[in-house]
Each structure stands twice: as C-alpha cells, then as structure tokens.
C-alpha cells in the first residue's frame, strides 16, 4: 500500500479541478500535489527536500519544459529513476505513445472526454498503482 503523495503535473486549471474531484470521488486518501509546469515539477522532485511521490501523473503538453522532457529527466536521475509515471494526456497520437514509452513511462492513459468515464479510469489507476502494484524500494541501501 503506497501512501505517499500523488504528483499531478498539469497546466490546465480546469483539468486540475476535475482530476482532484475524480480522486475525491474515489476516496483516494493520498495527498494530491499539483505542479502547473515542467519546471515546477522537476524542482519538486529534484530540489532540496525532494518530494517522494507514490505516483506521478504527467501531461505531455506543458508550457516551458514539455512533459516528455520532464519524463526524460525523471528517468535520468537516480533518485527518481524508478518512480511510477503514468502519462495522462489528451492525445492518442501514435507518435506520443511511442515517445512516452521510449522515454520510460510506465503507462499511457488518454483522458476521456466524458467525466464519468474519467472517474472510472482514476479508480482503476488508483487501485492498481497505489494498492496492487509494488513500488521500487526507497529505503537506505538501495
């Protein structure tokens, strides 16, 4: 059971609101931390007193540093190499899917337009990544 915070990297304030709502409706207790651009996300993950999230939800179209670059830097850094990263985005263009997996995403989810469907998707994601999945150990000596 992973009870660390969930890092949501999303620049669209409407999407943030709806995603927070979806997590609340699913009674997911983990704290939801929001970064509204790539720079902020990397500062949170690689700065002083880095955030150690149980899960990262990453949109790929972001201002300043774009989502795929954030993913690359997450995987490049030893501290965050094994973080579960789910690309959560609007597009399902093949190019984006291929690039995401190539750069080390654990999963690719296209955000549905219908909110009720999105709530169901968040439920499935939450159950899997926070309950079923075993994250990489982060204790000393690893």
């Amino acid at each position: 059971m992973s009870d660390g915070p969930i890092l949501l990297v999303e620049d669209n304030p409407d999407d943030v609101l709806l995603t927070v709502r979806a997590f609340t409706k699913n009674h997911i207790k983990n704290a939801l931390v929001v970064a509204t651009d790539g720079e902020q996300a990397l500062r949170l993950l690689h700065g002083d007193e880095p955030l150690r999230p149980a899960l990262v939800l990453l949109d790929i179209k972001l201002p300043k540093i774009d989502g795929l670059e954030v993913l690359r830097r997450i995987r490049d850094d030893d501290r965050t190499r094994s973080l579960p990263v789910v690309v959560l985005t609007t597009s399902n263009e093949e190019r984006d899917i291929v690039d995401s997996y190539r750069l080390g995403a654990n999963s690719f989810v296209r955000k549905p337009v219908v909110f009720e469907e999105f709530v169901k998707a968040v439920n499935v994601l939450g159950v899997y990544w926070l309950l079923v999945n075993e994250p990489a150990p982060t204790g000393p000596g690893t």
């Binding site: 709806l18 337009v113 909110f115 999105f118």
Partner: protein
C-alpha cells in the same frame, strides 16, 4: 574504259566496271568519302565532301587537313588516320567538322589500304552526319533531367504538405479536446452537486449539452481517422483480403454478442495494396453492413470479387436497411448521413474514409441500394486506364 555500247554487229558489249563507274557511285552517296596517303595528303574526295566543305577536288589533292581546317580539328583527323594506319584494321570514331551552321558531328569509319608487302600506304574515310541524332539524344537527356527535377520538387511539396497535415492533426488531437473535457466535466459537476437546485428540465438541458459535447468529441476523432487515412504512407504489398475480412468480421461479431449475423467471405480474395488501409475499408464497409442489418430478420452479408476487364472489383453486399439512391451522390462526403441518428448511430465519416483509401489506391467505388432491401458496395484498388469505369 568501256561502256555498254554496241559493237559492229549491233550486239551489246559487256559493261566493264572501272573508275568512271566507281566514282559515279561515290559521288552520289550522302556519306562523305575521302582518301589520304600515309602522310595525310588528300588523294581523293567525293562530291558530298566538295559540297560540304565548298572545295573542289582539284584544289584539295596534295593538301593536308592542316591546310584546310583549324588546327584542333586537323589534329584530330590526323590522329584518327594514324590509328587506322597503325592498327591495320578499320576504326570507328566520332569526329566533328565545321558545317554550314557550326560544328557538325560525324560517325567515321577509317580503314587502311595495304600494299602487297603489308604496309599501309593510304587511309580511306567514310563519314556520316549524325548531328541530328545527337541533338535528339541531348534533348531526351535534358527532358529526363527536367522530369527528375520536377519529381523531386513534387515529392518535397508532398512531404511538406503531409507534415503540415500531421501538425494540424496533432494540434487538433490536443487542443480541441481539452475544452470539450471541461464542458462535459463541469456539466457533470452541476448535475451531481446542484441536483437539488436543478429541476428535471434543467437537468435535461445539461444532458443535451453533454450529448453534443460527446458528439463533437466523436467527430474530432473521426476527422483524425480520416486524416490518418490520408496521411499514412501507402505501401502496397500482396494482401490476403479474405483473411483480413474474416479477421474484421470476427471483431465485429464479438462486439455484437446478442446478434447472429451470417457473414460470408469468399475464398481467395487478394489485392495489391496497403493492408492497414484496406483493413480500414473493410472495417467500415463490413461494419456498416452489420450495423444496417440490425433490424433485419435473417441478415446476410457477403463479400466477393470479380474481374472487370482485368481489374479486380470487390463487392460487399447486405440485405439490410439499404438507402434511397436519390441521395447516393453525397454519401461519400464526410459527415454525410442517409439515415437519422435515431435509426442508426454514427457520424457519417466511415464512407468518406473508404472513399479516401480507395481513391489513394487509384481505384473507384460505387454504391447501390434500395430502401428495405439492402446495399451493395463495389470497389477496385488498382489504377485503371482512363476509359475504364467501374460497373
């Protein structure tokens, strides 16, 4: 010198072939003929030589090419002469000589005359003007180069416009769907959090908003599919259409577990086309057939092929709802529908995709239908001569 004249008794004397006769032959050919000794001095030229270089044979005999032509040309002639004299066998070369309107090109055969001791004492030359032929060759080469350049330009243009389409489709993929998500999501929030404040009618209106948002999202996806059918590179290979059609059918049937539809795909259907794009065509045509037989007892769908003047024509036929032929001309336009959404769902993009793929393959497509009695779609996937029309 004897000629064919009469003797004293009135009988004909036999013709003897001597210099007079031979010179007559030489003087009436269009080839340029000449003879020079081992030192390059002219011994003989024919009439065509005289005409071409505006010289008289009496004036030339004893002179060399260096007396008559510019040094460069004379050097070339002399070199070729030497080659023939030394080699002892005929040589064929291309030479250039001045003509009325500039340099002309000749193909020349030079061969030595050899004495009893085997020594070459003279060289003979026979030259034919090939200037016209060379010009034609040059023209062809130039046209080919121009053509290649144009092909390269067109390919570059095509790649550029494909990239633009790509960028456009990509931006649509992201940018248009995000606001739709917000519209749908916040309508849902209102329905959930303000249910008490919203009467049935208000909730109904929100429902309509959501339905339209859904429809728009679907249309965007359909446009993306249509643009993919245009964008993706067409790569032809031998495609087992029977196997592909049976795969697609299995998927369609699995998606409709409550229905029993008889789908017959003939054996041995083959096409030389792009299998991914052909799959799109089959998904849409067979999918339509399954969809429009939803209200038919004993639905039957069949796919077959027949050659028409050597070109394979594929047929997909069903006995479902059919359509009114009066509206047929528009049926391949994007988002054009011949039935209401209440009767059958769909946005009307399927046939536009089919039409796009068939056209990209160089083929044609035709539809026939009768309300209540079914529809038949016939299409080809091979470019045909201009006068071939799919029946």
């Amino acid at each position: 010198m004897s000629t064919g004249t009469m003797d004293e008794t009135g009988g004909r004397l036999p013709v003897q072939v001597g210099q007079e006769q031979l010179m007559a032959l030489l003087d009436h050919t269009s080839a340029v003929i000449y003879m020079r000794d081992a030192d390059g001095r002219y011994l003989l030229v024919n009439q065509e030589y005289e005409r071409l270089f505006r010289l008289r044979r009496e004036d030339i005999v004893g002179l060399t090419d260096h007396d008559l032509f510019p040094a460069a040309i004379a050097d070339e002639f002399r070199a070729n002469d030497r080659q023939a004299l030394a080699g002892g066998v005929p040589v064929q070369v291309e030479e250039q000589a001045p003509g009325e309107d500039g340099l002309r090109t000749y193909v020349t055969v030079k061969f030595p005359l050899v004495d009893a001791a085997g020594k070459a004492y003279a060289v003979c030359g026979i030259s034919t003007d090939i200037t016209g032929r060379k010009q034609a060759e040059e023209q062809v080469r130039r046209l080919n180069d121009e053509l290649e350049l144009r092909v390269r330009q067109r390919t570059a243009e095509l790649e550029a416009s494909t990239q633009e389409l790509d960028a456009f489709a990509y931006s649509v993929s992201h940018d248009l769907r995000a606001p739709l998500r917000s519209l749908e999501g916040f309508s849902q929030v209102l329905l959930e959090d303000y249910a008490d404040a919203l009467d049935e009618q208000a909730q109904g209106y929100l429902g309509r908003i959501q339905a339209n948002v859904n429809r728009m999202a679907q249309m965007i996806d359909d446009l993306l599919h249509l643009s993919r059918a245009t964008r993706t590179q067409l790569q032809r290979e031998r495609t087992d259409v029977t196997a592909l059609a049976r795969e697609v059918t299995a998927e369609l049937v699995a998606g409709e577990p409550d229905r029993a539809v008889a789908v017959e795909i003939d054996d041995g259907l083959v096409a030389h086309g792009d299998p991914h794009l052909i799959r799109l065509v089959l998904q849409n045509l067979l999918g339509n057939a399954v969809k429009f037989t939803a209200h038919t007892d004993d639905p039957v769908i069949r796919m077959s092929a027949q050659p028409q003047q050597g070109i394979d024509v594929f047929t997909v036929r069903d006995n479902g709802a059919g359509f009114d032929m009066r509206y047929a001309p528009k049926m391949f336009d994007p988002f054009q529908r011949l039935h209401s959404t209440a009767e059958f769902e769909g946005t009307g993009i399927g046939l536009a995709i089919v039409h796009r793929v068939v056209t990209r393959h160089g083929g044609q497509i035709r539809a026939e239908g009768e309300p209540g009695r079914g529809a038949t779609f016939r299409f080809s996937l091979t470019p045909a001569p201009d006068d071939w029309v799919l029946r």
